[in-house]
């Protein structure tokens, strides 16, 4: 069981990363909030799990991924609304100062939304969390080769989609 100071520390250290990851997976702010809250409630109940984890961030990301998978299964069984994740796209990135950057980020969000969720998860964890393929494989409970190939497929799709914009912001 975690005391409040420890919960605050964990939130301040990891909530932004977890939120961005969940937002990328769900494409929905409300779902991201619910899953993030589930994760922290779980941490509050069983803090010993986090305390014994080697990598706090990787462990919390894994909890977030598992919570997302559970949530998607429940949703799928209940109302087949999983497609709405990609349609209700919300801003994944901070507001851009320049118009070119804003367009690029908007296109990147759209391109990410088109990726299958497994590829999106791997791309996010590799690019923005800088996890290795082994760490990603552990987190998503898949073989490392699968993680690597998903990443490659995902990046190729993003590159094809953003090719026309990339040179402008480079």
């Amino acid at each position: 069981m975690a005391d409040e100071a420890e919960l605050r520390r964990l939130y301040d250290a990891h909530a932004n990363a977890l939120y961005a990851y969940l937002l990328n997976l769900t494409r929905n702010e409300s779902d991201s909030h619910d899953i993030l809250q589930d994760v922290f409630c779980h941490v509050a109940r069983r803090h010993d799990f986090v305390a014994n984890a080697r990598e706090e961030r990787a462990f919390l990301l894994r909890m977030a991924y598992n919570a997302f998978v559970d949530s998607t299964r429940r949703r799928h069984a209940r109302e087949h609304r999983e497609q709405s994740f990609a349609q209700e796209s919300v801003g994944l990135f901070e507001q851009a100062a320049h118009a070119d950057e804003a367009v690029f980020r908007k296109e990147l969000e759209a391109a990410m939304a088109e990726l299958p969720v497994e590829q999106r998860s791997v791309v996010h964890l590799r690019l923005w969390e800088e996890l290795t393929f082994d760490e990603i494989a552990t987190l998503m409970q898949i073989p490392p080769d699968t993680a690597a190939s998903r990443y490659r497929y995902g990046i190729d799709k993003l590159r094809d989609r953003l090719r026309h914009l990339y040179d402008e912001i480079r």
Partner: protein, 147 residues
């Protein structure tokens, strides 16, 4: 690839800053987490109580056997003390007779009360008077004082 190096492209993506958590969420999520933590603490205290009881009982098979024997004894006594249908019928008949007797006694009491409240004539025969009343009455014939 028109100068689109893979590593450069990945670096370009990595440089895009992700959105931060909305500021209002921190307080709400931490409050929910604290509630979850205290709820678990409450449930754990009740679990501890059960665990203590179990821990006390588990290494004492005699205590379990005693508890089981007490339940068996209660069950047997309950079965033995239950009246048979004949006994129930007899008890009901006895209760009906007792009710009837009480009604008869009640009507007798009413008759006695009525008799006591009826006015008694003074010229009634002496044997009908109570002995104490007769002794209080003065004799009608006056006795002359002896000289």
């Amino acid at each position: 690839m028109n100068g689109m190096n893979s590593e450069q492209f990945e670096d370009c993506l990595r440089r895009q800053p992700l959105r931060a958590t909305p500021p209002g969420w921190r307080r709400k999520i931490l409050a929910e987490a604290a509630n979850a933590s205290s709820a678990r603490a409450r449930s754990r205290s009740s679990q501890n109580w059960a665990k203590t009881l179990f821990g006390w009982m588990w290494p004492r098979p005699m205590a379990w056997a005693g508890l089981a024997a007490a339940w068996v004894a209660i069950f047997v006594l309950n079965k033995l003390s239950a009246p048979t249908p004949e006994e129930s019928a007899q008890a009901e008949a006895g209760a009906a007779i007792a009710d009837a007797n009480l009604q008869i006694l009640g009507s007798l009491d009413e008759l006695d009360f009525a008799a006591e409240t009826t006015p008694v004539r003074p010229s009634s025969t002496p044997e009908t008077k109570p002995p104490d009343q007769g002794s209080l009455e003065r004799p009608e014939t006056s006795v002359a004082p002896q000289t």
